[in-house]
Symmetry: C2
Subunit: 364 residues, 2 copies
């Protein structure tokens, strides 16, 4: 493999610009029924055929593992790659000790980096996966994340059986998982068994898509103590990462056709705009939040919008990447956002800090 | 910064050999009282002055966060670096949603990659941290992990107040944390404030130390269902990673002066040797387990040995690195081992698979 790693550049506070784009060869998405009843209906690769979204499993946790297994299977089948073509997996989820990932991925026999960045994990996995590929450490990796509404409620709040009330500023955890096959631009075209690994977007759309840079986020703690108010807990981290990205790359918001946050929801979006305006940054004419895209908040009873590691992942897979490939946008900044808490930290009265990682994705 | 990334090589299944070593500039370790009553007494940088190992906090979880904060503070003070000299943190712990790391590290304002590899996390953080530095993405990062006996018991088994009995093959979670400052060999000598960042081992010992390669582990599931029997749950993963490392680098056990696993304990050690013997690999004359080094199992009531993310981390910091620097060993393979479970997966009857990541560390 030809080595172009010398052209990668460490920029500013926490960004990296790749000398050559890391190609997103394809992506597989799988969601629950409710996700497919929203505005993106019909865009996902697979939808649960069971109204409880159990995916054939007998517990919520195993259902989430089934989501991850399926997301990898779809990503492989759409690109024609096999498990042995994938050098590393970068994966994480919301459950304690990442069990959705561990049990979902064990059968693939692919070396694994387990990650935790709460709902920012999709960004973290794309950052680390693309850093690995751009450095020439791997021809191909898969980055993936998942969340499941019922397993997340049990893990963080109340089991569904309690029938607890949710405040209007709360968000709804997305049941979904998506995987992304990242490939080095100089990787051999053939798989280990001699088949051609194909680019999902080539032929079907006008452009290919790739990751051209990343901005790693830091923890921001503005003192939010309400674990239902995820949007405001995460907005400061999103603001920091967006501002750092613009500063590090020497860009203005106009250099992006769109900026996507992960799951701030309608309440967090306003907080983000307010925070950025203090730094004279205005993204309001090009900002979208994956949590506000995935559900129709007027018709679906989701309150502030969608959330969860799976939210930004399936929106990227089913909505953002196809639109980039279709030429609607040239360059987007994708910033999944995470709230750092667990049941114990919340019950012990600790704050809910946030973190957000930024990924620059371009039509090529 | 001069760029030598082109000399890095992806080897075999899952290994990377660095063109130039990633320098371990220094390391800070902090432990509980019991850890300092074992064979490594006096080797740690800081010891709890409180018999409950609360480190000034009012909960076990916050005590573990205090451990991480202290480990970074020690690592910085020993090398003369400041937080703003560190581009990224690679950190994880055993608690649900990594809260020990999130709350322990928030005040440093350093961009963070949150990791989860159970007790293999020390290996995962050194792999990802060194991959980042060797790729030229950062001059300096800190890799760190922690565990706390009391927070781990509460998280995985029974709160201490229950007074539950432990079987003789169970291990004892180490209360401790260690950080490792990894530096690019071509990084500027001065910190951002113009002070010289010093190598802890230079002058004090005969050699410097550095990471020259890594082997990423995959999940191995041999069907163990007993969450107390961590040693046997993790031995297959350690065996896979050690065999992969030898194969990928074209080495035999004799090419290492010592092979360290993380926390297999006495029961898991025998399982590891048996598994490796099936592949005609014999490491028995040079294998050590950090869990068997940290406590005196005859005098301290720890049964099979120590465990936890902090176990391998503090043994590396306080014992292995100084011996490498002193010239006792030239090259070691360090393989922290993790068991992938949580309370729910265990209670739902799922297996306890393992994972282990390998780090090649050499005297330079």
């Amino acid at each position: 493999m030809e080595n172009n790693t010398a052209k990668n550049k460490a920029l500013g506070t926490s960004s990296i610009e790749y000398g050559q784009p890391v190609i997103i060869m394809g992506s597989g998405s799988v969601v629950g029924q409710m996700e497919n009843e929203g505005p993106l209906s019909g865009s996902f690769d697979k939808v649960s055929d069971d109204k409880n979204d159990m995916f054939g499993a007998d517990s919520w946790e195993k259902a989430e593992s089934a989501l991850q297994k399926e997301a990898v299977a779809l990503t492989l089948s759409k690109t024609g790659a096999e498990a042995k073509d994938i050098r590393f997996l970068y994966a994480g989820d919301l459950l304690g000790q990442n069990i959705a990932s561990s049990f979902g991925l064990v059968d693939y026999n692919i070396p694994l980096f387990g990650l935790y960045g709460a709902c920012s994990t999709c960004g973290e996995s794309l950052c680390l996966g693309s850093m690995c590929v751009a450095a020439g450490y791997a021809d191909r990796v898969i980055s993936l994340t998942s969340s499941h509404y019922a397993s997340a409620q049990k893990e963080f709040r109340y089991p569904l059986e309690y029938g607890g009330q949710r405040p209007l500023y709360a968000s709804w955890t997305v049941t979904g998982s998506a995987g992304f096959l990242l490939q080095n631009i100089n990787a051999p075209a053939k798989s280990v068994s001699g088949k051609t690994i194909k680019n999902e977007y080539e032929g079907k759309y006008r452009k290919k898509v790739g990751i051209t840079g990343v901005t790693i986020g830091k923890i921001e703690d503005f003192g939010i103590k309400d674990s239902f108010n995820m949007g405001c807990a995460m907005a400061p981290a999103a603001a920091w990462t967006i501002a750092a990205n613009l500063r590090d790359f020497g860009r203005t918001p106009k250099d992006y056709d769109a900026v996507f946050t992960g799951d701030l929801g309608s309440v967090g979006q306003q907080a983000l705009w307010n925070l950025l305006s203090q730094e004279k940054i205005d993204i309001s004419d090009r900002h979208y939040d994956c949590g506000m895209i995935i559900y129709d908040s007027g018709k679906q009873d989701v309150h502030a919008g969608g959330s969860g590691c799976g939210c930004s992942a399936v929106v990227l897979s089913a909505y953002i990447l196809p639109k980039l490939a279709d030429g609607e946008w040239k360059r987007v900044l994708f910033v999944p956002t995470g709230a750092l808490l667990n049941k114990t930290s919340f019950n012990e009265g600790q704050n809910v800090p946030g973190i957000a990682h930024g990924v620059v994705i371009e039509a090529l």
